[in-house]
């Protein structure tokens, strides 16, 4: 049944190798991330909620495991200013700026997955929303501390200590 098959491009010569100029292949070992923490800040809680749904959906589609999604408490910055341009010290005006937060933590990513996910999610950041990204790298233990020191030293014969 050929109902849903996309036949466009099927006429292309199969001997030509399809190389996508945007994809680069390198032999370097990938950097592994234990945790990728995205802290999203905004003034509007509804916007942050919809962005959370979008980011979690994108992570699930790419197969990235979501560790947790939590909402740190909001911060309110209050200012008390003079109401008038000149004198009238007793009459003031108060303003406040509310910043709501949403923290998304993803675990066990490779650097290329992280790059793709971050690029997609950041290109679709709504206006008035800021994001901070923290990556926790996994590194190999350096060679000089892989084995304990007392195993590597040459064996010294035990001498009796005469008191």
């Amino acid at each position: 049944n050929l109902m849903g098959v996309r036949l466009a491009g099927s006429h292309v010569d199969t001997q030509e190798s399809k190389t996508n100029p945007l994809v680069s292949i390198s032999d370097e070992p990938e950097i592994l991330y234990k945790r990728l923490s995205l802290l999203v800040k905004g003034h509007d809680k509804a916007v942050l909620d919809s962005y959370e749904y979008f980011a979690v959906l994108a992570a699930k589609e790419l197969g990235i495991s979501v560790e947790k999604v939590h909402k740190p408490p909001k911060k309110i910055e209050r200012l008390t200013l003079l109401k008038s341009v000149h004198i009238y010290k007793k009459h003031r005006v108060q303003y406040e700026m509310r910043t709501h937060y949403m923290c998304l933590e993803l675990k066990y990513l490779t650097s290329s997955t992280a790059a793709v996910y971050l690029e997609y999610v950041q290109r679709n950041l709504p206006e008035g929303v800021a994001m901070e990204v923290k990556k926790t790298k996994i590194e190999k233990i350096p060679e000089h501390i892989q084995e304990p020191v007392w195993d590597t030293l040459p064996q010294v014969e035990e001498t009796e200590v005469k008191s």
Binding site: K41, H43, D44, E77, R98, T99, P126, E127, A130
Partner: protein, 180 residues
């Protein structure tokens, strides 16, 4: 001390209330029963005198848009924001620069589209891109509108060194929310 004594004589005595002679009926003080019950103060509602971003109530002939009808304490409840950027978030830089840019852009669009702007200009900043959303009344022919749009976009992108995109919407007239 002659003057004070003379003045004291002219002033009425403390006890005297009525200058006319009293009849026997009036002389007896009438004792009214003291009304019992809860004691209240009669108060009128407080008249708030704040005038910030509010259109004062008038005779009912002043057309007012949704944006103008709501006072600033309705922002985030019934109103949205006219300028969306990250400058005012906690620990984010650039609030003052964005404010100055916004002020200039609003004056620029008020002048570029004279008499045709139906509502306030909405400014959105996505990364480097500045998106300006305008609602215009149908006062100008489309050719002139397109020219003004291109002129505004190129001039502003050269001025602010960032891509500027205008998104227009035309309406037959100003959308009136209520009459004040």
């Amino acid at each position: 001390m002659a003057a004070p004594t003379a003045a004291r004589a002219l002033r009425p005595l403390w006890g005297a209330r009525c200058p006319l002679p009293l009849s026997p009926h009036q002389a007896v003080p009438r004792i009214r029963p003291i009304p019992e019950g809860p004691r209240h103060l009669h108060t009128t509602p407080a008249c708030l005198k704040t005038r910030a971003a509010r259109v004062r109530v008038g005779k009912g002939d002043k057309p007012v848009t949704y944006e103008q009808a709501h006072a600033p304490h309705y922002i985030a409840h019934r109103k949205g924001w006219l300028s969306l950027h990250t400058g005012n978030l906690a620990e984010e830089p650039g609030a003052a620069e964005r404010a100055v840019e916004d002020a200039f852009l609003r004056r620029f669009f008020y002048g570029t589209f004279p008499g045709v702007l139906a509502d306030e200009v909405v400014l959105k900043r996505r990364a480097n891109l500045l998106v300006v959303c305008l609602v215009l009344a149908r006062g100008l022919p489309p050719a002139k509108l397109y020219f003004l749009v291109g002129y505004a976009e190129t001039l502003l992108s050269h001025f602010y060194k960032c891509p500027v995109r205008l998104e227009l919407q035309t309406v037959p007239g100003k959308v009136v929310y209520k009459y004040l």
